[in-house]
C-alpha cells in the first residue's frame, strides 16, 4: 500500500471509530435505562407502551405535549415569517447585530427563559399593566376561560409565547438566507407570467416552492424543541404535565428494585413513546433539510444580487417589535435581581443585596462563582470533545457523499441525529444507571455531567460543520498535494483553513448550549455536588421563599448565565458568514 493509501486508510479508521464510539455513547445509556427499567418493572417495552395508552395521566400528558408542540410550531411560523421576510428582503444597517439580537433567544438557557416569562406575565409585570393577565387569569383571559370552559388558557398562552420566543430564530436562520440570496429579477419575471399575475399566485408558484422547504424544516425542528421542552413547562404551566416533565418527576425514584415500581413503569413507557414520536420527527427533518439545502444551493449559486431596498415603515415596525420581544424577558430578569421585597411593609425596593448573597453563597446555596466555574468547566470539556467528534463525523459524512455512497452517508447522518430524538432526562437517567451498573466508583467523578452535554451538543456541531465541508472546493486540497505539501500541511491549507469560521461558530454555540443545559444536569447533578448555574437557579426557585432574597438571588444567577451565553453567541455571530444557511 502506498503512503497516500495508508493515510487514507488511517483517516477512514479514525472516522469510523469516532462514529461508532459516538453512536455507542448515545445509544448505550438509553439501552441501560431501558434494560434496567424493564428488569425493575418486570415488563417489556411493548407491554409498557400498551400500558401507557391505558393510563389516564400519561395519555393526558401525551395529548398536552402534542397540542402545545403543534400550536407552538404554527405560532412560531406565523410570527417568525414576517421577521425573516423583513430581514431577508431589505437592506439593514447592522444586520449582524440585528440577527444576533433576534437569534439570542435560541441559545438562551431555557431556565432563564422561564424566569423571564414569569417576570413578564407576573402581577405588576408589563403584560398585566396592559390588561393581559396570563398568570392569575383575570380580565379578558378570565373571560376567555369562562366563555370557552378552557382550563388555564393564560398558562397555555404563556407557554406558547415562550416557545415562539425560543424558536423564532429557527425560522429566521432557515428562511432569511434563502430570501436574501434569491435573485430579485425572478419575482419581476414572475409578474409577467400568467402564473404570477396576482399576489396569491406568486405565493403559490414562486415563494412556496422556494421558501416552503425552509419553513417546513424550521417548523419540524420547532416541533421537536417544543415537544421536549422541560424548564418552560415546569414553570409556566404548573398544572400540566408533558411527557418530559412526567419523566423528570418520576426519574428520581425510577430504576430501583423493589421500590416505587410505578415510577419505573411511567419512565419506561413514556420514554419509548417519546422516542418513537421524535424519531419520526427527526426522519422528517432530515429529509426536508436535504431538500432545503438543495434549493438553497441553487439560489446561492444563481449569482444573486445584494439586496438594496431600504426598509419601509412596516418592516421597521416589525423588526422593532421583534427586537423588543426578544430582549424584554431578559431585561426583566436582570431588573428582578435587584428588586427586594420588604417583609414588614410588603413594598419593593432596589438594591444589590441579593447579588452579594448569591455571590458569596452559603452551605445551602452554591455561590455564583462556584456554580459559574462548574458550568464553565463542563462547557470547556464539552467543547473539547464535541468539536473534534462533530468535525470527524462531518468529515466522514462528507467523504462518503464525495465517494457517491449516499445511502451510507444518510445512515451515518441519521445515527448522529439520534440525540435530538432522546429526551435529555432519559440520557441523564441512562448515564446514571449505566454507571451504577458498570462502575459505581465512577459515580462520584465530577466529569460525569459533561457526558450528556457532549451527546446533546455534537449533532449541532455536525449541523454547522457539514454544510461548510460540503461547500469546500476540493481543488485547493488537490493543489496543495501537488505542491508537495505533506498530508497534514495539505489538509491544513486545503481544508481546515476554510473551516475556521464554522468551527468558531460551532464552538461558541456548543459552549452556550452546554451552559444552558438543564434536563440531564437536573437528573445527574442531583446525584452529586456539582451544581451548575442552571441547576442553581432551579434550586433557588424551588426553595421556600420566606427569605425575600431567595428569588432575586435566582434572578442574579440567571443574569450571569444569560450574560455569559450572550458573550459566546456574539462571538459566534461575528464569525458567521452572510447568508449562511446552516440553520443554526
Amino acid at each position: 500500500m502506498t503512503r497516500t493509501g495508508q493515510h487514507k486508510m488511517l483517516v477512514k479508521v479514525i472516522q469510523w471509530t469516532t462514529v461508532c464510539c459516538f453512536v455507542t455513547l448515545t445509544v448505550l445509556p438509553l439501552l441501560y435505562a431501558i434494560a434496567r427499567l424493564e428488569s425493575v418493572t418486570g415488563i417489556n417495552s411493548v407491554v409498557a407502551v400498551q400500558n401507557f395508552f391505558t393510563t389516564q395521566s400519561s395519555l393526558h400528558a401525551l395529548k398536552f405535549t402534542l397540542l402545545e408542540a403543534t400550536i407552538s410550531t404554527i405560532a412560531t411560523v406565523i410570527i417568525g415569517l414576517p421577521i425573516a421576510w423583513c430581514l431577508g428582503r431589505y437592506n439593514w444597517k447592522n444586520i449582524k447585530f440585528l440577527r444576533a439580537i433576534l437569534a439570542v433567544p435560541f441559545v438562551t438557557p431555557s431556565i432563564v427563559v422561564a424566569m423571564g416569562f414569569l417576570m413578564l406575565i407576573d402581577v405588576g409585570g408589563p403584560l398585566t399593566a396592559m390588561g393581559i393577565d396570563l398568570r392569575l387569569e383575570t380580565g379578558i383571559v378570565g373571560e376567555l376561560a369562562n366563555v370557552t370552559n378552557w382550563e388555564n388558557p393564560g398558562h397555555f398562552i404563556a407557554l406558547i409565547a415562550a416557545h415562539v420566543w425560543f424558536n423564532i430564530s429557527l425560522i429566521m436562520r432557515f428562511v432569511e438566507p434563502t430570501l436574501s440570496t434569491m435573485d430579485r429579477t425572478w419575482e419581476e419575471q414572475m409578474r409577467f407570467l400568467p402564473a404570477g399575475q396576482n399576489r396569491l399566485s406568486r405565493i403559490r408558484n414562486l415563494w412556496l416552492p422556494i421558501i416552503g422547504p425552509a419553513i417546513l424544516c424550521a417548523a419540524t425542528l420547532c416541533f421537536i424543541f417544543s415537544f421536549t421542552s422541560f424548564a418552560l413547562v415546569r414553570w409556566l404551566t404548573p398544572n400540566q404535565d408533558t411527557l418530559e416533565t412526567l419523566m423528570a418527576n418520576s426519574g428520581g425514584s425510577a430504576g430501583i428494585y423493589g421500590y416505587r415500581i410505578d415510577t419505573s413503569e411511567v419512565v419506561l413507557s413514556t420514554s419509548i413513546v417519546q422516542l418513537i414520536i421524535l424519531s419520526l420527527a427527526i426522519i422528517c427533518a432530515t429529509s426536508i433539510q436535504r431538500r432545503h439545502s438543495t434549493i438553497h444551493a441553487i439560489i446561492a449559486e444563481s449569482d444573486a444580487k445584494q439586496i438594496s431596498a431600504r426598509p419601509n415603515n412596516l418592516a421597521k415596525a416589525i423588526i422593532s417589535l421583534g427586537v423588543c420581544f426578544a430582549i424584554l424577558p431578559l431585561m426583566l430578569v436582570t431588573i428582578a435581581s435587584f428588586r427586594i421585597r420588604n417583609t414588614k411593609t410588603g413594598e419593593f425596593t432596589y438594591s444589590t443585596e441579593a447579588w452579594s448573597e448569591a455571590w458569596s453563597g452559603d452551605y445551602s446555596t452554591t455561590a455564583i462563582p462556584d456554580a459559574l466555574s462548574n458550568s464553565l468547566i463542563y462547557c470547556l470539556i464539552t467543547v473539547a470533545f464535541a468539536l473534534p467528534i462533530g468535525w470527524i463525523i462531518s468529515s466522514c459524512i462528507s467523504r462518503l457523499e464525495q465517494e457517491q455512497k449516499a445511502t451510507t452517508a444518510k445512515i451515518v447522518e441519521f445515527a448522529t441525529m439520534i440525540p435530538l430524538a432522546l429526551s435529555a432526562v432519559m440520557i441523564g437517567l441512562g448515564i446514571l444507571l449505566g454507571l451504577l451498573k458498570w462502575s459505581p466508583g465512577l459515580f462520584g467523578w465530577a466529569i460525569i455531567p459533561a457526558i450528556p452535554h457532549i451527546i446533546i451538543t455534537t449533532p449541532f456541531v455536525i449541523r454547522i460543520i457539514l454544510p461548510a465541508l460540503r461547500s469546500i472546493d476540493l481543488s485547493y486540497h488537490e493543489q496543495a498535494v501537488m505542491l508537495g505539501m505533506n498530508p497534514i500541511n495539505a489538509w491544513w491549507h486545503g481544508k481546515a483553513a476554510f473551516l475556521r469560521a464554522p468551527l468558531v461558530v460551532a464552538g461558541a454555540l456548543t459552549m452556550a448550549f452546554s451552559l444552558g443545559e438543564f434536563g440531564a444536569s437536573w437528573i445527574l447533578v442531583r446525584s452529586g455536588s456539582w451544581d451548575t448555574l442552571s441547576v442553581l437557579i432551579d434550586q433557588l426557585m424551588s426553595q421556600p421563599k420566606f427569605n425575600p432574597l431567595i428569588q432575586p438571588m435566582a434572578m442574579a444567577a440567571a443574569t450571569v448565565l444569560m450574560l455569559l451565553t450572550f458573550i459566546l453567541f456574539f462571538i459566534a455571530e461575528r464569525f458567521r458568514d452572510n447568508g449562511e444557511g446552516s440553520g443554526f
Binding site: 431501558i34 428488569s39 417489556n44 425514584s253 446525584s527 434550586q539 424551588s542 426553595q543 428569588q551
Partner: protein, 378 residues
C-alpha cells in the same frame, strides 16, 4: 423507506439487547447489607446527603470544622423522598457518609433496605435529652431524630372569614361547593409533606364515625371538587396558596385558599413579616401528623467517626435549639421550643391529636396507599 427500515432495525436491536442487559442487572442486585461499600474514599471530608433548605447556617458548619477538623461537603436533594431515592439508587456505591432529613414516612423503607448503619449516639447520655414525642415513631440505633413538626392543613383567614365561609369542622367540609377548585395538595407520590398528610387522612378516616367511607373516598371526592394536585410543597404553598408569602413571589397564581403545610407555618410567616399573617391551621383531631426528621450514618459511609461527631453536634443544645430559625421546625430536645420573636410561637398552632400510624405499617402499606391515591385522584 430505508431510514424507516433502519429505525425499525435499531428499535429491534435495542429491544433484544436490553433484554440481555436486564438479565445481567438482576444478578447484580442480590447483595447483602454487609457488602455495601463506599463510592468514595475517606479523604478527611464528611459528606452529608441532605435536602435543599437551611438546616445549618454557615457559622454552624464552620464551627464544626474548627472543632473537629472535618471539612463538610453537602450533597443536596429536593426533599426527604429525594434522599431516600439517592440512597437506594447508589447503594452499591454510596456517595455520602451521613444523611440528614429522612422523615418517619420514609425511614422504615431505608431501614428495611439496609441503607443505614448503627450509631453509638443512642448510648450517649445526651440521647436521653431527646423528647418522647420525637422518639415515639422510632427509637433504635439506626436513626436519630433532629427536628420535628406537625403537618397540617393551612387556610387563608381572608377567605375563611367566619361569616361567608366558616372553618371546616370535618375534612368532608372541603368537598363542598364552597371549596371547589380552592384547595391545593402536594402529591404524596413526589412530596414529603404530601405523603405525611395522606398518611394522616388514613388514620383520620379509620377513626371517624362513618365506617362506610375511607381516606381514598375522601381523596376521590376532593379530586371531583377540583382540588389542585402539585408535585411539591413549594408549588402548592407558594404558587397556589393565597395565605402565605407566595403572593409576593414571581409565578404566583393564588387560586387555592387551603393547602398542606406545617402547623407552625403561620408562625414562620409572622416571624418573617413583622408579626403579621393571615394564614392559620386546621387542627382537627387526627387530621394532623407529627413529622419527625432523622439523621443517620449511611451503610457504606467512608467517614464514620466524622459522621458520629456530626450527629453529636446536631443534637447539641446550641445547634438543635436553632432549628426553628434555620429549618423552620421544632427542636427535638426536651425543654426547647419555638421562639416568641415576632409572633413565631403565638401563630404556631398546636394539634389537638396527631394521627398515629406505626412506621412499620407505613412502610408495608405505602405502595398500596399510593396506588389507591393515584386511582382516586386520576
Amino acid at each position: 423507506m430505508r431510514l424507516n427500515a433502519i429505525l425499525c432495525l435499531t428499535v429491534m436491536v435495542c429491544a433484544s439487547m436490553s433484554g440481555c442487559l436486564g438479565a445481567l442487572e438482576k444478578e447484580n442486585e442480590s447483595l447483602e447489607c454487609s457488602t455495601f461499600s463506599a463510592g468514595h474514599t475517606d479523604d478527611g471530608k464528611l459528606r452529608i446527603l441532605t435536602y435543599d433548605i437551611l438546616a445549618l447556617s454557615d457559622s454552624m458548619v464552620e464551627e464544626f470544622t474548627n472543632r473537629t477538623g472535618y471539612e463538610i461537603e453537602f450533597i443536596k436533594e429536593d426533599d426527604a423522598g429525594g434522599i431516600l431515592d439517592q440512597m437506594m439508587l447508589t447503594k452499591q456505591a454510596q456517595q455520602a457518609d451521613l444523611m440528614i432529613g429522612l422523615d418517619n414516612t420514609y425511614l422504615q423503607t431505608a431501614i428495611d433496605n439496609c441503607l443505614l448503619r448503627e450509631t453509638v449516639y443512642t448510648q450517649s447520655d445526651n440521647y436521653q435529652n431527646i423528647s418522647e414525642q420525637a422518639t415515639a415513631p422510632y427509637s433504635g440505633p439506626l436513626a436519630i431524630p433532629f427536628d420535628q413538626g406537625p403537618v397540617c392543613l393551612n387556610y387563608d383567614e381572608n377567605f375563611v372569614d367566619g361569616e361567608n365561609v366558616s372553618e371546616p369542622t370535618s375534612l368532608w367540609n372541603l368537598t363542598e361547593e364552597t371549596w371547589r377548585g380552592k384547595t391545593a395538595f402536594p402529591s404524596p407520590v413526589t412530596s414529603s409533606p404530601g405523603r405525611s398528610f395522606m398518611v394522616s387522612t388514613i388514620d383520620y378516616f379509620e377513626n371517624d364515625d362513618d365506617e362506610s367511607t375511607n381516606a381514598f373516598d375522601w381523596w376521590q371526592a376532593m379530586a371531583s371538587n377540583d382540588a389542585i394536585i402539585t408535585s411539591g410543597w413549594t408549588e402548592a404553598y407558594e404558587t397556589h396558596y393565597t395565605g402565605g408569602y407566595g403572593e409576593y413571589t414571581t409565578g404566583y397564581i393564588g387560586d387555592a385558599h387551603l393547602t398542606v403545610s406545617y402547623c407552625q407555618s403561620p408562625g414562620v410567616e409572622a416571624y418573617y413579616s413583622g408579626n403579621y399573617t393571615h394564614s392559620t391551621s386546621i387542627t382537627l383531631p387526627k387530621s394532623t401528623i407529627q413529622q419527625v426528621e432523622y439523621t443517620g450514618i449511611i451503610n457504606g459511609a467512608a467517614n464514620i467517626p466524622g459522621a458520629e461527631l456530626f450527629i453529636e453536634y446536631l443534637l447539641s443544645p446550641e445547634i438543635n435549639a436553632q432549628m426553628p430559625e434555620n429549618n423552620l421546625m421544632y427542636p427535638v430536645l426536651d425543654g426547647y421550643g419555638l421562639p416568641e420573636t415576632d409572633g413565631y410561637r403565638y401563630h404556631s398552632d398546636i394539634p389537638q391529636e396527631n394521627a398515629n400510624v406505626e412506621i412499620t405499617r407505613i412502610n408495608e402499606e405505602m405502595t398500596n396507599w399510593l396506588d389507591k391515591w393515584q386511582s382516586a385522584t386520576e
